[in-house]
Symmetry: D2
Subunit: 360 residues, 4 copies
């Protein structure tokens, strides 16, 4: 474990505060010979950037990625692959008022407790801009996993507040389906309702939470490193490291509590000469190791902490304060979190794949 580094062999280290010069990432351990261009990375980054519609904040970040090292003549070298995105719109005045205020359910108070100080403009390191490095690195991991294993990762918004996407056949949802609308929900009708709900929350100076589902296809059997780095544990770590997450489920998740063993056990059988399970309550992972079935997970995101209505709080000096947030913010983080979830899944799997490959 190491604060700003994720992974053992496909090691990703991110940097950057919302107000600094750049946010970025170094991938150490990236396999050589991968075709990586700024365009591939940019496509993924564009999926998380704000200013895409009525649902997200109207900040125009640009977020043009630059590859700084590790790629030569269009192919990865195997050396550290660094990428960065400039922070273009730093307006400290927007945040000056909140310099000494602890915003409720934000990280202001805890960063100050930890480090004795904090970068108050725009949340500093706790800003969601930090995830740019994750998405950029995840894009590289995706290329490798796709090329080497035909592995696919698709995430989508399954639930916003009480609105739940219609039962979808997980095995067929494509990223095209997901990114077809700005909610990132592959059920277009429900997506429209969710968009309205989010918009209403904004007008109401409030925010809403929800659930993202993620599915991993063509994951070979045998990945995951028991006992501590089981695939489910690594995914839980990865997903819970995304800002605003409060819960993680693998396969059956919390619903397993209500089931009996005879209901929950996944019977093995054969299909085309390959061992499969007839149900998949295990979520593709048994004993912490992938079994060749689809790996499935669900992640709960809390409602955005920044809301435009007055809130009671205290200052860093311990004085009462009524906070009214200004500036730009999303009333629902889920649409923008979808590519981040996909990225963290990709980083986890690339790392576990390499760990398994090392065991020759």
């Amino acid at each position: 474990m190491a604060a700003n580094t994720f992974g053992t062999l496909f090691r990703v280290t991110t940097w950057g505060e919302s107000h600094g010069k750049t946010v970025g990432v170094v991938i150490d351990g990236c396999p050589p010979g991968l075709e990586i261009t700024e365009k591939i990375i940019q496509t993924e980054l564009d999926r998380r950037k704000p200013g895409q519609g009525r649902l997200t904040s109207h900040r125009n970040e640009g977020d043009q990625v630059k590859i700084l090292s590790g790629v030569f003549e269009g192919l990865t070298l195997g050396t550290p692959l660094a990428m960065e995105v400039e922070n273009q719109e730093y307006r400290p005045k927007d945040y000056e008022a909140m310099k000494d205020v602890f915003r409720p359910s934000h990280a202001d108070m805890t960063y100050e407790a930890k480090f004795g100080r904090r970068a108050w403009p725009g949340g500093g390191r706790s800003s969601a801009r930090e995830t740019i490095g994750r998405v950029a690195a995840g894009a590289v991991a995706r290329v490798w996993l796709k090329k080497k294993f035909s592995l696919e990762i698709v995430a989508w918004v399954e639930q916003v507040k009480n609105l739940i996407a219609g039962t979808t056949d997980f095995s067929t949802v494509s990223r095209q389906d997901v990114y077809a609308n700005e909610v990132r929900c592959p059920d277009p009708e429900m997506a429209e309702k969710m968009a309205e709900l989010i918009d209403r929350a904004r007008k109401d100076c409030d925010s809403v939470g929800g659930i993202i589902k993620v599915v991993i296809r063509n994951c070979p059997a045998g990945w995951g490193e028991p006992v501590f780095d089981r695939m489910d544990a690594v995914l839980a770590h990865a997903f819970m490291s995304i800002p605003a997450t409060k819960g993680i489920e693998i396969g059956s998740g919390f619903s397993c509590a209500l089931m009996t063993g005879s209901e929950h056990n996944d019977p093995f059988s054969m299909e085309n000469g390959r061992v499969i399970t007839e149900t998949n309550y295990s979520g593709g992972i048994q004993g912490g190791i992938s079994n060749g079935m689809q790996v499935t997970a669900r992640i709960a995101f809390k409602p955005t902490a920044t809301i435009a209505r007055p809130q009671n709080t205290v200052t860093s000096k311990g004085e009462p304060f009524v906070l009214k947030a200004k500036g730009r913010h999303d009333p629902c983080v889920l649409p923008r979190a979808v590519p981040i979830v996909e990225a963290m899944a990709a980083l986890s799997l690339a790392d576990l794949a390499m760990q398994q490959a090392a065991r020759i």
Copy 2:
């Protein structure tokens, strides 16, 4: 990350299969000067061992711990603290029949996919005996956390199938309350009903799942290492590495999906000169760092995979097989999982405490 090692500074490495000579653990990085005796460790181990009543398997394991190193004249030396427990009752014949069979929702198939072979007697490394090392190490971490920070960790069974413990005041549940009954549920009436439910499941040749709640008190503000080793992410990793877990919640967990920001945000206020939050949907963690409130989590455990009724499966050669489990097994893992949850919490917190201390 490293397969069988957990932690960066308080580093715990476990070993052992169910059938081997011993199971054990080495703690590297244990602070010097702690009073550690075999009795302290044994008390914790006794909380997870089977054969304690009608609910758990009737195997008499003994499980006497031996301290092998790292303690001198009753105090830790700061050098590696190794402990082991002998495997006394290895009866390979009990398992011979399952040598070539993939037990449903067990790790037989996946260990074979991963390693090309597996220790078939008693589950080998995927046996819950592996957790002995975790509990032994957790006992040491507890001593340090208690001595240094007055930190307390209490876990209990909150739900077994559809039976839910009555609303308990989290701030007062003690380990004494929890370990007063064999279900490890501090609501004695519900504990009795849960015991009956588990007993019925056994008679029905079936098993049941449930939920464990864990609360951490007196955790100082400032622990947790964003962005990847946030306290919530580390706890999620730790808990999801326990066998049979399928879901993790911090604070509000999945219920946050249904809330608005104005409901979910925890207002700050002052209490005795200290910043507190008036509600605790954050579960004591904000931006991945502890805020001084109680840290709270919930963990879903699936129903035991081993059940005494016939199940369809396949052999390692891909032939259909009807499996009927013999031998000893628990119809509900939760009572024995309680001390394991506490141990993983202790290991996580000891490590994060040391990481914070290093930042002088």
Copy 3:
């Protein structure tokens, strides 16, 4: 261990090839509250950059460092501190001729064996430009070590070929003495002779090696993490990771082979209420832990592999080839290696200091 990351708590990750956009570094784990400016970093970088005189290559690199993150209002935040330097003078044509040639005693052949490809312009990742990130990070570590412990690190050129600096009193050599001349040798007369020798080597189309001495003062007793991360082992790792190194000595080094125990043992005695050793063959380290005396080491650097005279070699296709190096290169790496040695010592000690501090 992790390829391009050094350290456990003060973790430094570097990136960059000689031909890429930038070379840079991220420090993860940097203590908060340190006064760090680009000027402080630049001062150190200027000590390693070429084009400083007759002894080093005439390339004008500029090497202006930019702090990208981790510093706010002049103080470190405790978050990742990233820095980069642009590669300004990339002239691929200078290197085109060597695209398919394995330069003797360079890393061309081995990078190709390892990664299947390599960045042929200017050595790519194996270029000494990689060390810019180390020196920048080392500058930050120095600030912390100086502030917190009054710790000082001074390295100098002790020997170039057969020229050896006059017996210097290690306890008084200052960085000012060292950087007073372009050879970085605190014996000014010998420095002049060394400069002439290096200049002759250049005219002779050849190169020379030598030895750098490094001394660490005010290192508290108690640092170093036996058994594997002893201070001497970590320093050996750190120094041997610098390009062109072939040997490392701590304290008495290889001369210990000729001594008896009664000669080599350092008698303990008291001085001002503090335990000291009367001699220091141990080099300030006993059992892998600092004992409070000066930590001393020596490092052997080979003669620069790039020489302007024709050399027999083979191409990547296995054909014989006569190579005659063009372009800029130093006939002796030692003067520029001095700040790199100091940086690696600083990174090692900052990390060990934090590891010791964690053991509260």
Copy 4:
């Protein structure tokens, strides 16, 4: 880096003080399917144990290894492989007198500075008994390296004080040659003289140092992880972590300081369709990566710190004390260090081999 763990993928964690119940080791990441028996391990352990002749201490340790986990039906499982050796001859009274005394050039003073206390009987963790775990783990690494790559590691005593083994052809020295005599020097005549010298040192109540040479054959090109985990840096770390080491050389070592580039560069040429170097001053490593030639290193060991003549020192209370060592000790550590050097080389290479394999 982690105090008592070595390696990233082939991870070895040792435990044990001289006075505790056992010394031992866990290997995490050991490839599955290796034929490992206690006999194979014991053979290596017997090479380092004392009581083998006139040169080493007359302590009869037994040192019977037990495999505790990770091996099933004679083959490794891929799970943690733990091994232990009991400490049989603990005689605290032998050491009682030294309880409060800092033995010169031992680790008593520094362990106390680091941990605030120490296990005074027999050196505790700083005792050479700690290396038993390394040798046991190294034996496993050897089996894998031999099976998978036909890789061979041979070390021997090259120099004791001023006695130097006759020029040996490195490519032909076998372990059989080395272990044919108790000095572990493949030059039988010089071995005899060395034995006499060591014996004289003992009679003289003194001790002697020397140099061990190690050669690695059939190491594939491409191993080593620049920039920080170069093969030379990892070997330097590994060797310098062995008690009593003061210097490390790779290839030409310190002699490179006296050479010019035209002398030191290793010309490439072809041999049987394979790229070779005509000389090997590089010691088989270029740019931190193996080039397919023999990897060569030399390690300086100081004279044993324990000597039977009176020495001036201080107590832990700072009082002057005249120490006269009692008990058993070797007047020269080199013969017993030979298998330890081989083990550390094996552990380093197994780990680097797995890291390279992961890069698929």
